[in-house]
């Protein structure tokens, strides 16, 4: 009744020496490739868990970004008396990707610490845990496309074929998110304070990124006039690139219809994110042998 012996008979060899950076990287990739089913189960489990506690279940995946949008619409249009045309769509294009990033990073932070018992007792590639946290966010993002479609119907003149660029921008975001997720999950094992810090840093990051506003609006307001270096910093923010790209294909601009995203800056961000991801994988694999001891 037990497993037939159709799996490769593997052994292992360990000693105190740590492999070189490239060996660590290839180990990380092999870990991910060999444990894809596990990641899939973890993602499914995560989705089920989110849906099972509440009356509305997975309907919250749809409601959540809408309610958040409503809050910001009230905040910005009523309280600060700003008028940006079709503002609900304007911010929804940023809320949707941000919710994914935010949830992925917060979930990843605790992904290793939460499974301490497992890590201390079973040998498995720990990288699957933050990977699953990041990937589960893709599901939320995809569900979020439903309310997006609903809002788009209200602003039908902004519907364009450029919407087909969404998956491309999402891929860039995924690479960047995974890198951040790996680093915070491993870091939180050693410094639990990171969990507390991350939430606040994420909030700050959201307000500093052109989500509720656009870089063009900032240019108009003239706050960069005296300090051009701020303009450079603002556009170097990965979420400036991502938000501007999403907005360009979903909303367009304040006075114009949607258009293609800035492919050059997306390509730069993708290259940077992949390098960052490779670095994050190396760091993660370097720290991994200590997890069982520290947890």
């Amino acid at each position: 009744m037990r497993a037939s012996r159709d799996q490769a008979l593997t052994g292992f060899r360990t000693d105190a020496a740590s492999p070189g950076p490239l060996a660590l990287l290839s180990e990380a990739i092999a870990d991910i490739r060999s444990r894809r089913p596990l990641v899939r189960y973890l993602v499914e489990a995560d989705m089920k868990r989110r849906g099972s506690d509440t009356l509305l279940g997975n309907f919250w995946w749809v409601m959540d970004p809408l309610l958040q949008m409503a809050v910001y619409v009230v905040l910005v249009t009523v309280i600060s008396q700003r008028t940006i045309p079709d503002y609900p769509l304007f911010i929804f294009a940023a809320i949707l990707p941000w919710k994914w990033f935010n949830a992925a990073v917060i979930d990843a932070t605790v992904s290793l610490v939460e499974q301490d018992r497992l890590i201390k007792r079973i040998s498995f590639p720990k990288i699957v845990l933050p990977l699953a946290a990041t990937t589960a966010g893709v599901a939320g993002f995809t569900f979020g496309l439903i309310p997006l479609a609903g809002i788009m119907l209200l602003y039908a003149d902004r519907i364009s074929p450029f919407l087909l660029f969404i998956p491309l921008v999402a891929v860039v975001q995924y690479a960047f998110t995974l890198a951040v997720a790996l680093l915070v999950s491993a870091g939180n094992v050693f410094f639990r304070d990171l969990g507390n810090t991350t939430r606040h840093l994420l909030r700050l990051w959201w307000y500093l990124s052109p989500g509720l506003y656009s870089l063009a609006l900032l240019d108009e307001s003239g706050i960069f006039r005296d300090l051009p270096v701020l303009r450079v910093l603002a556009s170097a923010n990965p979420f400036a690139v991502l938000f501007e790209a999403y907005r360009s294909i979903i909303y367009g601009s304040v006075d114009g219809p949607p258009g293609p995203p800035d492919l050059v800056s997306l390509a730069v961000l993708m290259t940077g994110s992949l390098l960052f991801l490779a670095l994050a994988m190396m760091v993660f694999k370097r720290l991994e042998p200590n997890f069982a001891k520290v947890l």
Binding site: M1, A3, S52, A292
Partner: protein
């Protein structure tokens, strides 16, 4: 510490065929860095750095060498906190040695836990699937062995209820069923024989015996000395991270008993002395 019996390090240097082993442990050492383990507030860390305190380190195991042959069943005994579980963690590839090396030939699987992959919101069936994936089983294998796991766990229709509705005994049954479903070449067991009610204990003991027979090599941590002498053909005694003795189970158990009795006598003497002091204090 090692005055009682010299660890026969030489035993595996002249063991004839150097390649015929299931697991080889050479001069193994595991060091814990207490800097991260005991949560130190940053204030203390800074003052420690300023006053140049050496980083606090602790060797959970040191200079342990072992050679596990195919067909062997090795018992690891010793008092609490001796480093037995750490040894199993290293043998299972969970912890990397800080010193020395470990080599395993064949699939190593450990019953170091009975609650694998347990997620309280998921059903028993889903947990079983998740547990198998954590253990590294492929999908096709999992599908094949799932009926067996469910049957052994014997949870009836509860198998499709969320785990949070389970009793501790039901969780243990399911965990045991999952953990023993892997078919390893080298089996690591950590005190798994002492859980559950009498019926389950009987059943699990039978299952472990079956696994021990099927596996090519077994390493077992236990306090059940009867088990050691009955089912193991070799034993090692570990105390405070050092290997005190290796050899015939009967002899090792005997030594362990003596040393435990000595330690107890010492502790009692201390307690008596302390009691006398206390009396003296009261009398004053």
């Amino acid at each position: 510490m090692s005055d009682v019996a010299a660890v026969p390090l030489a035993a595996f240097d002249d063991a004839g065929q150097p390649d015929d082993f299931a697991m080889l442990v050479e001069d193994l050492g595991v060091r814990y860095d207490l800097r991260f383990n005991r949560k130190t507030p940053i204030r203390q860390s800074i003052s420690a750095a300023l006053t140049r305190q050496p980083t606090r380190q602790f060797w959970a195991l040191r200079h342990v060498s072992l050679r596990l042959l195919h067909g062997e069943s090795l018992a690891v005994i010793g008092p609490n906190g001796a480093g037995k579980s750490t040894l199993l963690q290293v043998l299972g590839g969970i912890i990397r040695p800080s010193e020395g090396r470990v080599e395993a030939r064949g699939r190593v699987s450990g019953l170091l836990t009975l609650d694998i992959g347990f997620d309280r919101q998921l059903t028993g069936r889903e947990n079983a699937r998740l547990g198998c994936a954590f253990l590294g089983l492929e999908d096709s294998v999992t599908r094949q062995i799932m009926p067996g796991i469910l049957e052994y766990a014997g949870l009836g229709e509860f198998i499709d209820a969320p785990l949070k509705t389970y009793s501790a005994g039901m969780r243990a049954r399911l965990g045991f069923a999952i953990a023993t479903s892997v078919d390893p070449d080298i089996l690591l067991l950590d005190e798994v024989l002492a859980t559950g009610d009498a019926v389950f204990r009987q059943k699990s003991k039978a299952r472990v015996v079956e696994l021990v027979r099927a596996a090519k090599a077994v390493v077992l941590v236990t306090h059940d000395m009867q088990w050691v002498t009955e089912y193991c053909n070799r034993a090692i005694l570990i105390e405070k991270g050092a290997m005190i003795m290796e050899g015939d189970p009967q002899a090792v158990v005997e030594l362990h008993r003596e040393r435990t009795a000595e330690a107890r006598a010492r502790a009692e003497a201390k307690a008596v002395a302390a009691g006398a002091d206390a009396k003296a204090l009261v009398g004053r």
